[in-house]
Subunit: 287 residues, 4 copies
Amino acid sequence: MQNRTDLALELKEEAEEESKLKGVSMKTRIDASNHIRETRITIKDKEGEQVLGKPMGQYITIETKDLSANDGSYHKEMSEALYLNLKEMIPRNAKVFVAGLGNSDVTADSLGPKVVGNLWITRHLKREGYLKDAIELSAIAPGVMAQTGIETSEVLEALAEKIKPDLLIVVDALAARSSSRLNKTIQISDTGIAPGSGVGNHRNEITEKTVGIPVLAIGVPTVISVPAIISDIVGNETDNGDILEMLDEDFASMHVTPKNIDESIKRISYTISEGINHLLHNHIKAE
Amino acid sequence: MQNRTDLALELKEEAEEESKLKGVSMKTRIDASNHIRETRITIKDKEGEQVLGKPMGQYITIETKDLSANDGSYHKEMSEALYLNLKEMIPRNAKVFVAGLGNSDVTADSLGPKVVGNLWITRHLKREGYLKDAIELSAIAPGVMAQTGIETSEVLEALAEKIKPDLLIVVDALAARSSSRLNKTIQISDTGIAPGSGVGNHRNEITEKTVGIPVLAIGVPTVISVPAIISDIVGNETDNGDILEMLDEDFASMHVTPKNIDESIKRISYTISEGINHLLHNHIKAE
Amino acid sequence: MQNRTDLALELKEEAEEESKLKGVSMKTRIDASNHIRETRITIKDKEGEQVLGKPMGQYITIETKDLSANDGSYHKEMSEALYLNLKEMIPRNAKVFVAGLGNSDVTADSLGPKVVGNLWITRHLKREGYLKDAIELSAIAPGVMAQTGIETSEVLEALAEKIKPDLLIVVDALAARSSSRLNKTIQISDTGIAPGSGVGNHRNEITEKTVGIPVLAIGVPTVISVPAIISDIVGNETDNGDILEMLDEDFASMHVTPKNIDESIKRISYTISEGINHLLHNHIKAE
Amino acid sequence: MQNRTDLALELKEEAEEESKLKGVSMKTRIDASNHIRETRITIKDKEGEQVLGKPMGQYITIETKDLSANDGSYHKEMSEALYLNLKEMIPRNAKVFVAGLGNSDVTADSLGPKVVGNLWITRHLKREGYLKDAIELSAIAPGVMAQTGIETSEVLEALAEKIKPDLLIVVDALAARSSSRLNKTIQISDTGIAPGSGVGNHRNEITEKTVGIPVLAIGVPTVISVPAIISDIVGNETDNGDILEMLDEDFASMHVTPKNIDESIKRISYTISEGINHLLHNHIKAE
């Protein structure tokens, strides 16, 4: 229940109200286009972990200055901002392996597989001697445990051992608290995926500890949980917990999504794959 | 806001609490399989229309006795119950025209198009001399106004004039108040479609008055509106309206859907098309 | 069998070999970008109709100069060339109604519905007072007769009577003879659709005669029929007919499609909808 | 070119004509329902491998007695026949891992991913103590090399090492020579997948040698290659090779598929997943 948002930005907003911000720092900047706001939250120590309920590391949020305007008009700016951050976080010439998490049969959870579907994969071409100057990119959409019977972390660990990339990027659909951020906000973090997060509630963590290589996580909030909506409405009063307990059990497996979720997921997944593809682009063009 | 459910059954439950039930009658029966409960609500006069906010007519609800069990296990019983009701309401040898309302690109609104996609269409075959004993069935999925620029009622009126069926069946996705009924309940009514109902909020009514022939409506609740959830939780207290007003404007275009909406819509749409196809089945088999 | 291509350009190539070209004229030009070749075939009289087996009128083919290069790289140039031709053929301020023919469940036949899905529809907005300077655009994807039981021409005639547009544009998937033109060539004609053409073999014609308003047809070859392939290979020898007769009957319902048909249809349908949308674009931007 | 069919049955028919059948045996039987014909071809030694161009092992073909009748009417009988063969080939209590090969975005190549999507996965449930009497089933749809940059055999080897199943079942779309067998025939073999076979032309073999555990292959022909069609038509005459050389290069990447490929793949994939699910069924029911 506490973790009803996967966005560090929203956790911080909440924590701020309660003024317990030790171990956490935040910087905000507007990009060159004057349309995009980047917020960088750093959780610096154990105390910061306690405050936000997330592991130590960087959490970068990319969104438009005026959220309501972000209906696709700033696709290029978002994509470029993602690219610039990735470029900074990924060593030159790194072998990159991308995992698109989630269930491609459930629209709100299909962000990861859709991103992977639009990547320019180079690993097999480079191994045949082509694209010498491009970075090595491989990818998989491993499905969810109900489809495979295998923990996603097990699949990724096995493949990382086999193909030996330098870095894993996991792309996942997240839960948020605010409807205005749905399908409009990209979060990048260098901490990997914590247990229980994401739309599909991955039970196992996907981090350097479990997979054996550094893990970057790219996420977009695509749903709001019903408890998050209710908390927002009834506020932080004492009987809040009581109301949540009264909630129809069925609501536990429910999501609030915008009506146009199908279209939105298509658009934002394209924004993300373009940001990642940009890492290869110039090299390939040159050749 | 008042109409936050399209199910007459739920309107009645609500009205009952307020004990204003003049002009409305209700009968419940369990079917032969002992798994299915049918509830028949009759709105008898203007007073009944006032109480439930729906036009005069029959509203039949088909659901399993134990709603939580209705996960597809009673597919055949539901389908059979739908068939038996349709058989009673549709004259023998009627020419039937089915319209699958809704947007096939939005999962929660795609029930109608999916049902039409599974029908056994006979009109063109009968006109060539085949299937003499089967009823004439034609169908269309007209799309929504944002896709066509044309009111759905205009499309159906034009086609009804052209192909001269005896009866129109419209199939549509509805909004409900209770999460336990989503994708598990079928409502049949002889009143057609009122303005502003359905997931896609059809602005114009689709009734005998506008289309020129009797209109049966088959609907399944596939979403809950956010205001409906909140009302359920905060109850009927005085400040209810205030809370609703405070709601983020974005929520107006949001739906609460179960995570497995894609799978559920596939299953229930199949249940409905089988119920309709059954009307033709025996005749065709014989031939 | 004779009509194994829907492209006038290919019929002409064939007829030319047999040197019977009375009543037919042809002009070719390269567009400003130097990438696109437009071929305009005019069938001038009854004699021309005999020679090519198609009704009198204009047939404009848009393709890249080097067909093998047309893998999406000239998307913008193709789209612009389509727009310029449409602009010339459609009166300023005309009310335009677009019909996307074909079966959206059969990839090779889904071009029409996909184009309609990407149009900027304005009719409903203009009727509420918005977009005063834009042209009125409405659209429908009527499905195929096996899905509806209704002839496509009946649906379009009924709707044309109801909404009174000035012009109908039908978009359809075609059969071609040459594999190099699949999903790479756009044919525009002012003659509407002849009976028996298209991937789905529309039995009735869709022309000004049947629908009551002028009909522009936009088509893209997406399949090759098996007989067309064989003719190409075994040539025009005397036993050609014998071989065709020997053909497994099943082949009659078969198509030759490229492996990547799903991706190609997505791309070319987007090229076409952009060409049509361009008709509205400047007006809407201005407003 | 020689391997223009992946069906051992068709290779045998061809070889038979040339009367070189050393090292190959064949048995045919009709099942209890009197609708299904099973043909068991055994390639017994190196000589048999030479004759049919396939590795030593069993190749079982399940099809209806009258192929033209197999339009889905014998779904249950096909599914049951598959189940009975699998039961015989798979040790009781084996841990089974299923790989659905192919590209889910290309209809004719999507059989494998679709089958995996309909399996009852038990591995994760058994590991939590449920379904003690059921066999352990896990699965993956690994995508194709153009999507992942990783050889399918590498993915499967890595996962087999990690999750240690007793047996791998690969499900794949095949090429056939005869149109009458498309989407109507199931081939089971205990030899795994040879290099260069399947619709997507898997370059590496997937066999016990590469994956480390026994590999069962289940395949359904979904396409015919253009050269196969031509050979059928022009026969075995001397100039056959010349004609094939003259073939438009584009044809190399083309498939002949029935128009209703989308529907057929849906049906036959369901038949296969039911056959596999049946392995678990009784156990789970009992519990």
